[in-house]
């Protein structure tokens, strides 16, 4: 039972990261029907952004009297901003000119952007793993009834939940959020009622990428290393999470992320840890074959 609960804790941690990234996939797909292959790499850029900000800050930390929490917040903000900027730029330069062309071209462009970002960061930051800044606040352990939890895991889960709640409120309650929702339901009709589709698409990319950036920094703290190629696998898994929740559905992506995280960590514990990475793909394939609209979805099929 302890092993089970331990795996649930670990699963919820990775799951909330998948959920954060899945939101970007789902929002972008909802509006321009593109599987944004570069999204995983945007997450990687965020992780590097946070690392760079923290490294710079580390040199002047004592002079500024920054606490661990202060460092954490700065790191997350830096990662979020850099990712958001990259997401915005990618959309403007690569996807916008192709909005009228065939779906296949757009998909191939997204692949190209993904490879570009990976190699761009590799040239800038080197091909080897980089050690993440370690903060003492994050490393304290809690052991409850034999189940170990780090502060890091709790922070990841809480931050992810808080952000998702905020996003849900934003999309459903504010004017801009509703405009986004409207554009994803029917972009032509949305334009007819005076919604500027370009702004909405940019905003979608900025928010989605920002969330991926936050996830990147959180994961950087969690695993302690980053590499230019971390985005690919996590990206595909997050996409699986998005499909799991029904692509285009924001709440679905959140649940999908958590479910995938749990399935993966339980599968690794009870079935085979060698095939841990294959679970997501097997789930994805089975899901697309059996219920392509996702667990709750009914629209895109």
């Amino acid at each position: 039972m302890r092993i089970f609960i331990q795996q649930v804790v670990n699963g919820l941690t990775t799951g909330s990261v998948y959920a954060l990234i899945a939101l970007g996939y789902t929002m972008v797909y909802g509006i321009i029907e593109l599987i944004n292959f570069a999204h995983g790499d945007i997450y990687m850029v965020g992780a590097y952004g946070g690392l760079i900000a923290l490294t710079l800050l580390g040199t002047v930390r004592s002079a500024l009297h920054l606490s661990g929490i202060g460092m954490l917040i700065t790191g997350i903000t830096a990662g979020m901003l850099l990712s958001a900027a990259y997401g915005f730029t990618v959309e403007k330069f690569a996807y916008k000119p192709l909005r009228q062309s065939a779906r296949l071209s757009l998909l191939i462009t997204a692949l190209g952007v993904s490879i570009f970002l990976q190699n761009y960061v590799m040239i800038g930051q080197g091909a080897s793993d980089k050690t993440y800044v370690s903060l003492r606040v994050l490393n304290s352990n809690f052991i409850v009834d034999g189940v170990a939890m780090t502060a890091n895991q709790i922070i990841i889960f809480t931050v992810a939940m808080a952000i998702m709640l905020a996003l849900d409120l934003f999309v459903n309650k504010t004017m801009t959020g509703r405009a986004m929702k409207a554009a994803s339901q029917d972009s032509v009709a949305a334009q007819l009622v005076g919604i500027n589709i370009n702004t909405v698409i940019s905003l979608t990319f900025i928010i989605g990428s920002g969330l991926a950036g936050i996830a990147g920094v959180l994961v950087g703290f969690y695993y302690g290393i980053v590499n230019f190629s971390i985005g690919y696998l996590v990206g595909i898994k997050a996409f699986t999470a998005a499909v799991l929740g029904g692509i285009g559905d924001i709440r679905g992506a959140m649940v999908g992320g958590l479910v995938l995280g749990l399935l993966e960590s339980l599968g690794a514990a009870y079935i085979s840890s060698d095939y841990k990475d294959a679970f997501a793909f097997i789930i994805l394939i089975l899901l697309l074959l059996i219920k392509p609209s996702g667990l709750f979805g009914s629209r895109h099929s």
């Binding site: 296949l104 191939i108 462009t109 761009y120 800038g124 990475d277 793909f281 097997i282 394939i285 074959l289």
Partner: protein, 380 residues
């Protein structure tokens, strides 16, 4: 137009994007490389404007592009162009050293793969992002059959192709009913699963270490052990495959495929069984992938999971795109370009993938139908 408005428009289109690029590249790339990035972007923007003005870009209003080759595509060129190409390929190895022959042989294997993938991407407009899995299945079939049961190359060629087709059927039958995007993702997932299986099924595939000591084939009692002999074997296979694909394109099902690519609903309306055609093409493309895989295993005399990564699938896809979707000559040219060019640009090895990615993006921006492609297709 006043001076001020001209100034502002120049500022907006040529100054702000590079500055912005510089700003966001700075944290990751450092000052020098960000400066280079911004400079290259400026050059790119100027070129883009220039090409837009000359009407070269593929994304303009007209739906059907002029056939790039139409000027030359007369009867004689078609008839004798192939013979000429074949003669050159037969004579070429005598003028090359062993290393160069090796590169050309690789290029030919990639051309076989690209032609196989082109059946899906070019002829049907379906994206397969795990195509390399079939190459891997072919290669591992030969490796395992030889290591465990001592099968010869010629048995393995048949079994490898069959194996790839069989496994592709498992994927194709359910997924081809789905929308195009989902096919891309399912095949991507499939490709990864296959690689993970190669990596972990130690008793059969020897895990990440791979299988060594795969022999070169015998033909009429002569072992094709030297590079030049193996080159001719590959050439033989490539020629047969090209001929089959050429005839297929001329056949009824080839015309069905084109019709489906241009408009699937309309093709279904006129009575084409689109699902059947798509399945047939999917299986056939896997078959060619499998055969190329068997050749690859015996060329390398070694297989390991590292040869069958996702990026290899993208690489083959890029060959199809670069050369021209749906055009046999274009795809072969694309494969040779993408194999030979990096060999020539050894000094820029770090920038190789970066250039490759930019190539993909610019192709999609300017000529989505490829350099020698026939027609663009418009779903939207």
């Amino acid at each position: 137009m006043s001076i001020k408005s001209i100034f502002l428009s120049i500022l907006k289109s040529y100054l702000i994007p590079p500055l912005w690029m510089f700003a966001i590249a700075m944290p990751i790339m450092g000052i020098t490389k960000s400066f280079v990035t911004a400079g290259l972007l400026l050059i790119g923007l100027l070129f883009y404007r220039l090409l837009k003005r000359t009407g070269f870009t593929g994304t303009s209003n007209h739906h059907y592009y002029k056939d790039t080759l139409s000027k030359y595509r007369n009867k004689y060129f078609l008839k004798y162009g192939w013979i000429f190409a074949l003669l050159v390929s037969i004579i070429l190895p005598f003028f090359l050293n062993n290393y160069e022959i090796d590169v050309i042989t690789s290029a030919m294997l990639y051309a076989m793969l690209a032609l196989g993938l082109n059946l899906l991407v070019g002829n049907l407009g379906l994206l397969n992002l795990g195509y390399i899995a079939f190459y891997g299945i072919g290669a591992y079939t030969y490796a395992v059959l030889y290591a465990k049961f001592g099968f010869s190359f010629w048995d393995a060629v048949v079994i490898g192709g069959m194996m790839a087709s069989l496994i592709s059927m498992v994927i194709a039958l359910p997924t081809l009913r789905l929308k195009g995007d989902y096919l891309a993702i399912v095949t991507l997932g499939f490709g990864e699963i296959v690689r993970i299986v190669f990596n972990n099924w130690d008793s059969l595939t020897n895990g990440p270490n791979g299988i060594m000591g795969i022999p070169r084939p015998y033909l009429f009692g002569i072992q094709l052990s030297t590079g030049i002999r193996f080159f001719y074997l590959t050439l033989g296979f490539a020629v047969i495959q090209t001929y089959i694909i050429y005839r297929l394109g001329k056949s009824r099902s080839g015309r069905y495929a084109l019709a489906i690519r241009e408009n699937e609903q309309a093709s279904a309306m006129v009575g084409i069984n689109t699902y059947k055609v798509k399945t047939l093409y999917f299986i056939l493309s896997a078959f060619f992938g499998g055969i190329a895989g068997v050749l690859f295993a015996s060329k390398q005399m070694f297989v390991s999971p590292d040869s069958f990564t996702f990026i290899e699938s993208v690489y083959v896809l890029a060959m199809v795109i670069l050369g021209g979707m749906g055009s046999i000559a274009g795809v072969i040219a694309g494969a040779f370009t993408l194999v030979v060019l990096p060999e020539l640009l050894r000094g820029f090895i770090i920038y190789r993938m970066l250039i490759f990615a930019l190539l993909l993006i610019t192709m999609m921006l300017f000529k989505p139908e490829g350099l020698l492609g026939k027609k663009a297709y418009h779903d939207k």
